[in-house]
């Protein structure tokens, strides 16, 4: 059974329907990507998940139970923008956020110092937040998200503002939490990160769920018949080929969609016959970015839904 089930979630703000009948399940031990443009309905969905907004319709089931205000204690939320009190000290900030999650005492304090050490911020424990760099503030925000040992973690653009070393550190900790069977939702508009980290995704556009499912399966499904060719010389003749559905020409790189995957071989053969110099030929490969652009363009005319 999936630990988090979202059923038919809907939220209206007056006339505007921000989230429209969204349903998806988040599987155990996975990182789940919530993907969409700004204003797509991600934040509203997250706010419903955290019990900040009450949905107009639908329900959220966490480990078999409908969520209640108590659920907030099991959630760790890292917002996209830094949400810290500038004049508070680092350690006071961490202890305060743990306290309002219902955790206080020497255990939490010890853990706070442990995390500070791990993030190389131990000597800044009594500094004020406003005296820290943006990257360090982001680290404090992240520690405050997980200090109370939540079961369900929502990370909104967790890597923004971090240098490569800290990005790696954060990634390690996220993967550690995954191994500890935590449910992790990663909300982002950066498809690269989502692609590298997520096992499952849900894609939202204009309040609608336009795609969800296992990332590998989705990619496989969308990459069928997709060919990328890096070449020298003109290959515009391929537009005339009967089995070519779509061509996107980027100069030396051309993306081609054929009717069926067995046409891949036909295409390669034709290119060789026409003496095109081919530097790279990759078939049945696509990126999440490409899938997103394709779906966002089509959204409204057709809704695609994958399955686990």
């Amino acid at each position: 059974m999936h630990p988090l089930r979202i059923k038919n979630l809907t939220k209206n703000f007056g006339e505007l329907r921000a989230v429209n009948h969204i349903s998806f399940d988040v599987p155990e031990s996975s990182i789940f990507g919530l993907i969409g443009r700004n204003g797509a309905g991600k934040t509203t969905t997250i706010r419903m998940l955290m019990n900040i907004y009450l949905p107009d319709e639908g329900e959220i089931i966490f480990r078999g139970n409908k969520i209640t205000p108590k659920f907030k204690d099991y959630v760790g939320y890292l917002p996209e923008e830094r949400g810290l009190y500038k004049k508070m000290s680092v350690i006071d900030t961490l202890l305060f956020f743990a306290e309002i999650k219902g955790k206080s005492g020497s255990d939490v304090r010890r853990k706070a110092y442990e995390y500070l050490e791990r993030f190389e911020l131990l000597e800044r424990a009594s500094s004020k937040i406003q005296d820290l760099s943006k990257g360090n503030q982001q680290k404090i925000q992240f520690i405050s998200t997980i200090l109370h040992d939540p079961d369900f973690i929502i990370l909104d653009e967790p890597f923004s503002g971090l240098d490569p070393i800290n990005t790696e550190l954060l990634k390690d900790i996220i993967l550690e939490m995954k191994e500890k069977n935590k449910v992790i939702i990663l909300s982002t508009h950066l498809m690269d990160y989502a692609e590298k980290l997520c096992d499952h995704i849900a894609m939202i556009d204009h309040g609608n769920l336009i795609l969800h499912g296992n990332l590998e399966e989705i990619k496989k499904r969308f990459s069928e018949g997709k060919i990328t060719v890096i070449h020298e010389g003109d290959i515009s003749f391929i537009n005339q080929l009967p089995y070519v559905q779509k061509v996107a020409d980027f100069g030396n790189r051309t993306e081609i969609k054929v009717n069926d995957s067995h046409h891949t071989q036909d295409l390669l053969k034709t290119l060789v016959e026409r003496n095109v110099i081919i530097n790279k030929f990759s078939a049945n490969e696509t990126s999440l970015h490409e899938i997103f652009v394709e779906l966002a363009e089509n959204n409204g005319s057709e809704q695609l839904k994958g399955e686990f």
Partner: protein, 421 residues
Amino acid sequence: MNTNKVKGIIKRELKDKLFAKSFIIMTLLIPGIIILSIGIQAWVNSYEEESASKALIVSEIPGLTNELKEEFNQDKSIKAKDYIISYDEMSKADFEINIKKLKPLLLDESLNAIIFIPKTALKNKELIYYSKNPKNRALKSKLGSVINNVLVAKYFSGRELNKKDIAFAKKSIDFNSMKVSAEKIQEEGLGPEILSFGFTFLLYMGLMLSGTLILRSVIEEKSNRIVEVLLSSVSSSDLMIGKIIGASITSLAQMFIWLVPVIIIFSTSWFMLPVKFTFSISIWEWLYFFLNFLIGIVTFLGLFAAVGAIFDNDQDAQSGLWPLMMLIMIPFFIALSVGNNPSNSLAVWTSVLPFSSIIVMPARMTLVDVPVYQFVISIIVNLATLIVIFPVAGKIYRIGILMTGKKPTWKEVAGWVKLKS
């Protein structure tokens, strides 16, 4: 309500506000500002030209100049203030010729005033006052009162009156105010007036300071998006309640710090104060004062928090702030004017109406004995206001705090209130 979480919020608020340097500085500074403002007022009222005023008194009444000289020489305040007064005696016709010659002296201010005392003054006390600035009341009244004394003496001289009678006629009325209360009748000094002014000022400052503090803190949480993290842990009601309790404790503590020295100085015999400055306030009135302040502060904090939640930044919030400022400032000015007559209908009504009673009643109760039923009405009215206001403020706060971007219109805010929660 989750008490542990609310406690966490309260603790943070207290740490941030009550134990902040700026709070301690403001709390210590405000009594100084009050004393300074009373001082400035007194100084402005008693202010006169620093350089000596020069006046010429021309009398048509034979022999009056000598009597004037004598009387002016005897007057202490005239001597102390360094007036230079010259005297002349001439007929009205001569004076009318002379005044044209004297005109340049008035214009270049080598003379500040010329007073002509015609013969008829002994019948109707009507004098003529010539000056570049005839509106100078201080000079006019000072000279006038001395001249009046001389005229009175002159009028009665030669009649069968002794000096004692004349002295009596010259003396103006002096009220010795006695305050009549249910328990006793006692001499009334300046104490109650000073206390009334002090209460008015402290209540005004207390409400304004804590109101703007909570407004800023709500805007900070909203614009920094801290509120998103907070709301992922506590409900918006718990957050608002925690913030308001924290700010109320801070504000009450501030009022205590301000008033405890006053209570000690005036209610113990440790400091010997002149009778003029004493006042009496019962323990019940003190209790009323703090209860009234507590209800007031919670009401206003709710309103200020709601206004803070509507806007994203301090600048936008100004437009929502002025109606609240009016709710504090209008009662403040009414309370200041209550001293003129604490029992007129304006004073009575405003001391039991919502919002205004929070400031007016304490100012009034120091000056007159307010009937118990009026205290009760004011408390009930304020509690009822709180009960009506709080859910509305709470709703605006809950919705506003998560709205960012476009500045909402008042119509939209009214729409939030109507929304089902």
